[in-house]
């Protein structure tokens, strides 16, 4: 229990410290650490967490940290009440590094922004963050989320349809993400 809580703290501390590029880029980090490295949950469970985090109020990073902290504890077989502690630790540790950093930067705000060393660093960071985002999407395109083309072809092709619909609706028609999520969920209820 204590080991798991310490691991949660350390994992989310690192995610908070290196989480450049906003909520979605952060999701790529949470995913790699929590699913691939620590095996705290399956890719499917993680996708559900992202869905809930996207459709509830508040920043996606905070929402998913809270939910992941809870799920990791409960999945390990502990009482859901301990899950609250897991939530708290994950949320606290993801905010803590930026809290300290922002306080420091607040003092030197303008000086920092145009400093060439900082600018050069970001010249390298920005393209990499795009890669992070792409990796998050690629990792989620798996059997658990889309089904298997030969074993469950019905689910597979409908999933492909829902994916294309969501991508077009969001990219081209700028449809509200919550509306997209709800619509696809309801379609799933009807068709699966």
């Amino acid at each position: 229990m204590v080991v798991l809580l310490l691991k949660l703290f350390w994992t989310f501390f690192l995610i908070g410290l290196f989480g450049f590029g906003g909520g979605y880029a952060m999701i790529s980090m949470i995913q790699t650490e929590v699913v691939t490295h620590q095996h705290w949950m399956t890719m499917g469970q993680f996708t559900d967490i992202v869905a809930v985090s996207q459709s509830t109020p508040g920043p996606i990073g905070i929402n998913s940290a809270t939910y992941v902290g809870y799920t990791a504890i409960v999945n390990a077989g502990y009482d859901p009440l301990w899950g609250i502690l897991g939530s708290f630790i994950a949320t606290f540790s993801v905010v803590f590094p930026s809290f300290v950093l922002m306080l420091i930067i607040s003092k030197f705000l303008m000086k920092y922004k145009t400093h060439s060393a900082v600018e050069n660093t970001f010249q390298g960071l920005r393209p990499a963050v795009v890669g992070l985002l792409a990796a998050a999407a690629l990792l989620l395109m798996n059997e658990e989320n889309f089904g298997n083309i030969s074993e469950t072809p019905w689910q597979f092709w409908i999933s492909i349809g829902l994916f294309s619909f969501a991508l077009i609706a969001h990219r081209i028609y700028k449809t509200n993400p919550i509306a997209i999520i709800l619509l696809c969920g309801l379609t799933g209820m009807l068709l699966f």
Binding site: F99, M102, G188, M189
Partner: protein, 175 residues
């Protein structure tokens, strides 16, 4: 001081869809109503909050809280911005435990999973444009994505390597 907590509580509670969706509400509350910062300051602040690690909206709340009331102000604004998320998610997590086995809930989540993947894929193109990806640097995102996707490299290392290389390239190699 309590005003800071309350304002960011409202911002945390009434914005859905993450960081960038919060900007209009932050602008309305913090600039137009409370006059804690002016428009130009907010634009600079957005740029700084974006380039810092961590959660965008939280970074903004930390800065404004600090500017108004020092460290305690920063603490209370952050608490305000995070508290709604924390409570709402816990409630959902508890409820979801009860309904997880329900076949309708299962089907609902099966249907929305592909949409979530699409919503994560969608900003890749927009971000590629705003990060000035061109044919000279497009190998950076592609290489990073493949390293994470196929080899399982931690994104933390990618961020570290990219930042250090960008710094070294700009300081020592360019012209």
């Amino acid at each position: 001081m309590f005003d800071l907590f309350r304002t960011f509580l409202q911002i945390g509670l009434f914005t859905i869809g993450g960081g960038y969706a919060m900007i209009p509400l932050i602008e309305q509350k913090v600039v137009d109503e409370k006059h804690w910062v002016d428009h130009d300051e907010l634009v600079d602040l957005i740029a700084v909050a974006q380039s810092c690690p961590g959660i965008f909206a939280v970074n903004i709340s930390i800065f404004i809280g600090y500017k108004q009331r020092g460290v305690w102000g920063a603490f209370l604004s952050t608490l305000g911005a995070c508290l709604p998320s924390f409570l709402i998610i816990l409630l959902i997590a508890f409820a979801f435990m009860q309904f997880r086995e329900n076949p309708w809930v299962e089907k609902f989540f099966k249907g929305l999973r592909p949409a979530v993947v699409a919503l994560i894929a969608s900003p890749v193109f927009r971000m590629a444009k705003s990060s000035h990806i061109n044919r000279y640097n497009i190998w950076i995102p592609i290489l990073s994505a493949f390293a994470i996707w196929l080899i399982g490299v931690s994104p933390i290392y990618i961020i570290l390597i990219a930042g250090i290389s960008g710094y070294a390239y700009g300081q020592y190699l360019k012209d």
